[in-house]
């Protein structure tokens, strides 16, 4: 896989406010990239520099190794966090307008849009005014408008915010479908479970800095705490006896005739030794390593003291 979009050492000030500090990200072609970070971290500003809406003070955005131009921008589909439509315009007219502004000719735009309208069951809405649509319908329309000019890369700022669970699932499936058809997707979100489900790579932006990045699985395993979740049948005492000095029971609880335990290992070869130790004492029903969730990592990173030391705050 090659790198499709690259941000190199992006720095951006708004007046005295240092919004982005030397942020670099690499987005692999055909992957889904998650941009995480607390509110006000600079995610939206980073996205706006990626879409060439705002220019960075220094640093470069490269698309296929070339600096971004107005011409290459047509390969981008952008769904902003604060998204809106012309309220008085009719759905079809509106969609055609926005797609043609991407530089798509009339007949291609019309054909693409027809496909998408079919797929989302939106044909009945065509001549409705945008203000007559429900919020969920408007969001679907916005998603369609973002994708219908067949961009190579889609940049979605908080794509799930405001969607109900059914629509969220539909959009998730669409994102996966777009990935399958070779598109690259960058999205920012606070929805950590969607990150685990969808993202190949992530970057965590905090106070204008990229404090954590890499493949989602690698990031998660780098934060592994050698915790194992075990479900078994048998006696609690026997189970406790089986644990040597290398293991420590974090918690144990009972549901029906089954027991669930969380065990912390003090050695890196935890799984092999633990299984061996338990085998003679209890009947193991399930055994797996508990990976830290993105949620836990996020909270740990954002609230950890070393992450919050930054020069701008010292200056302020």
């Amino acid at each position: 896989m090659s790198i499709l979009l690259q941000a190199q050492h992006i720095d951006k000030h708004f007046g005295d406010f240092h919004v982005l500090k030397d942020v670099s990200i690499d987005v692999q072609e055909g992957s889904i990239f998650g941009l995480l970070g607390p509110n006000g971290a600079g995610k939206t500003t980073l996205i706006r520099t990626l879409t060439r809406i705002t220019a960075p003070d220094s640093g470069a955005i490269l698309f296929k190794g070339q600096p971004l131009t107005d011409e290459t921008r047509r390969h981008f589909g952008y769904l902003p966090e604060e998204r809106g439509l012309y309220r008085k315009m009719r759905v079809w007219e509106q969609a055609m307008y926005l797609i043609r502004l991407k530089g798509v000719d009339k007949s291609t735009a019309s054909a693409n849009l027809n496909d998408w309208f079919d797929r989302f069951n939106m044909q009945d809405w065509r001549s409705k005014r945008v203000e007559e649509l429900s919020k969920g319908m408007q969001q679907k329309l916005q998603f369609v408008i973002t994708a219908a000019h067949d961009p190579e890369i889609l940049i979605l700022d908080e794509p799930f915010s405001g969607f109900d669970p059914v629509n969220t699932e539909e959009i998730k499936q669409e994102i996966l479908g777009l990935k399958k058809s070779g598109k690259t997707i960058i999205f920012s979100t606070h929805n950590m479970s969607s990150v685990e489900e969808l993202c190949d790579d992530i970057a965590l932006i905090h106070k204008g800095q990229n404090i954590l990045h890499g493949a989602t699985q690698e990031v998660r395993s780098s934060f592994r705490q050698n915790l194992y979740e075990i479900t078994f049948k048998g006696s609690k005492v026997a189970f406790a006896n089986a644990m040597g000095y290398q293991f420590e029971i974090d918690s144990i609880k009972e549901t029906g005739d089954k027991l669930h335990a969380l065990v912390r290992s003090h050695t890196d070869e935890g799984s092999r030794l633990l299984l061996k130790a338990m085998a003679d004492h209890v009947e193991v029903l399930s055994f797996h390593e508990k990976m830290p969730s993105m949620h836990d990592i996020f909270i740990a990173q954002v609230s950890s003291p070393e992450a919050s030391t930054d020069p701008a705050q010292d200056a302020a």
Partner: protein, 446 residues
């Protein structure tokens, strides 16, 4: 890239043209304007309604030979005013002309009417009385009527603008100046209406949050200029509709009215035209009664240099609109809602309002230093220069017109540049009420 700005212009144009308010304005405006013109025309014809006036002559038979006109019949009687009033009640007299005994001394008479007669009737009566008194005085001084005609020396001053040695001076009349004033008022209203419309459009895009989608496809400058051009085209369309519809309605109305009158045999069309002229002159409150035959109103109108006036009108109309709408686009981008606009709209439109109010002074004194400056300064020139030009600009001062045009173009380019910089930052700023200092800072952002 050009193709995108055309798409934007098209949307801005069509979305406004299709609005109900545009259609209503497009029909209502001409209807009102044509209505006013037709009413003026019609009421001028209405005056041909015959008047039958009972003349109460206190010094009877002094006025016994007073004659009326084709439409005003006079019945001179030696009765008291009280009796005449009683008579008015029961007869078909339309009014009483009361000539008190003191009329020779204080030269005033009274007209008592049932139905308000027109200004024209009053003036005709005045003329007749004046003439009658003058002729009666002739006898007093032993003068013949030929002597009297010699004595009467009506003087008309025609004004000419000096054009330099060896060149014919140009006629300068008041009427072309009125045309200029009308043009400048039109420019004022269109600049005001449509630059505010641009501002509203920008605010709408911002509050709708469509703006960020837009600027991910087009450059903010394209969006801003597309909107300005689109809205300007709407203004021109509206203006064109007004002109065409007003002319159409007026000429249809005129044909119908004149047609009716002609069939009734009351007035041939020629007389009707003459009446319109008189009506217009009365409305303008200009004493045009003394204008000689070769210098009537229509000759004056004919002397208006329409190609030049319309050319300059379009230039200042478009130039002034572009300048102000660029500024108003910046204002729209800096605020979050219509209610926040006041603090910026007033300073921006102040020169425009000032020009409008001062235009009446310029109308009175087009050659003043103030008029010259105001006609050169780009923020006021679209309104003021129209008035000056309508009076006729001496060729020695033509450079002022060129300078004014050049400055307007240059200022528009500068304003568009500054506004575009405020705009592209402002459209993405929410929640913070921007101060003027902040706006200046935005100009310097990368």
């Amino acid at each position: 890239m050009q193709h995108k700005i055309i798409l934007i212009i098209r949307r801005e144009y069509l979305s406004r043209i299709r609005k109900r308010s545009f259609i209503v304005m497009g029909l209502l405006g001409p209807l009102i304007m044509a209505g006013v013109i037709i009413f003026a025309f019609w009421s001028s014809l209405e005056e041909s309604e015959d008047q039958k006036i009972l003349v109460v002559d206190d010094s009877y038979p002094f006025f016994a030979d007073l004659e009326g006109t084709s439409t005003i019949a006079l019945d001179i009687q030696d009765i008291s005013l009280a009796k005449a009033e009683a008579l008015l009640e029961v007869s078909d007299y339309t009014g009483i002309l009361y000539l008190p005994g003191k009329i020779l001394a204080n030269k005033s008479a009274e007209l008592i009417f049932k139905k308000q007669p027109s200004f024209r009737v009053q003036r005709q009566l005045e003329e007749r009385l004046q003439q009658y008194l003058e002729i009666s005085k002739l006898k007093e001084f032993n003068l013949t009527e030929t002597d009297y005609r010699r004595l009467k020396a009506p003087v008309i001053i025609s004004t000419f603008q000096y054009q330099g040695p060896g060149q014919d001076a140009e006629r300068a009349d008041i009427l072309p100046a009125i045309v200029g004033q009308i043009f400048s008022i039109l420019i004022f209203f269109f600049i005001f209406l449509y630059s505010v419309s641009v501002m509203r459009g920008v605010i709408e895009e911002k509050t709708n949050r469509i703006i960020e989608v837009m600027v991910s496809s087009v450059r903010p400058f394209q969006l801003m200029m597309g909107k300005i051009i689109g809205v300007g085209a709407v203004g021109l369309t509206q203006f064109l509709i007004w002109v065409v519809l007003t002319f159409t309605i007026v000429s249809i109305g005129q044909t119908i009215i004149i047609g009716n009158k002609y069939v009734a045999g009351a007035e041939p069309p020629g007389a009707a035209t003459e009446m319109i002229q008189e009506q217009m002159s009365a409305e303008n409150a200009l004493s045009l009664t003394q204008i000689s035959a070769d210098d009537n109103l229509f000759n004056q109108i004919r002397r208006v240099n329409f190609p030049l006036m319309i050319g300059l009108f379009l230039f200042y109309f478009i130039g002034g609109y572009l300048l102000y709408s660029a500024l108003m686009a910046a204002v729209g981008s800096a605020v979050d809602s219509d209610t926040d606009t006041q603090q910026f709209v007033l300073p921006v439109t102040f020169p425009l309002l000032l020009a409008y109010f001062l235009s009446f002074q310029v109308f009175a004194n087009p050659g003043s230093t103030m008029a010259i400056w105001l006609s050169i300064i780009p923020f006021t020139s679209p309104i003021i220069m129209m008035i000056r030009v309508s009076y006729g600009i001496p060729s020695a001062d033509l450079w002022q017109v060129y300078l004014s045009c050049a400055l307007l173009i240059a200022t528009f380019i500068a304003a568009a540049w500054v506004s575009a910089r405020i705009y592209r930052t402002g459209i993405l700023m929410y929640g913070k009420k921007a101060s003027l200092r902040e706006l200046l800072k935005w100009i310097t952002f990368r």
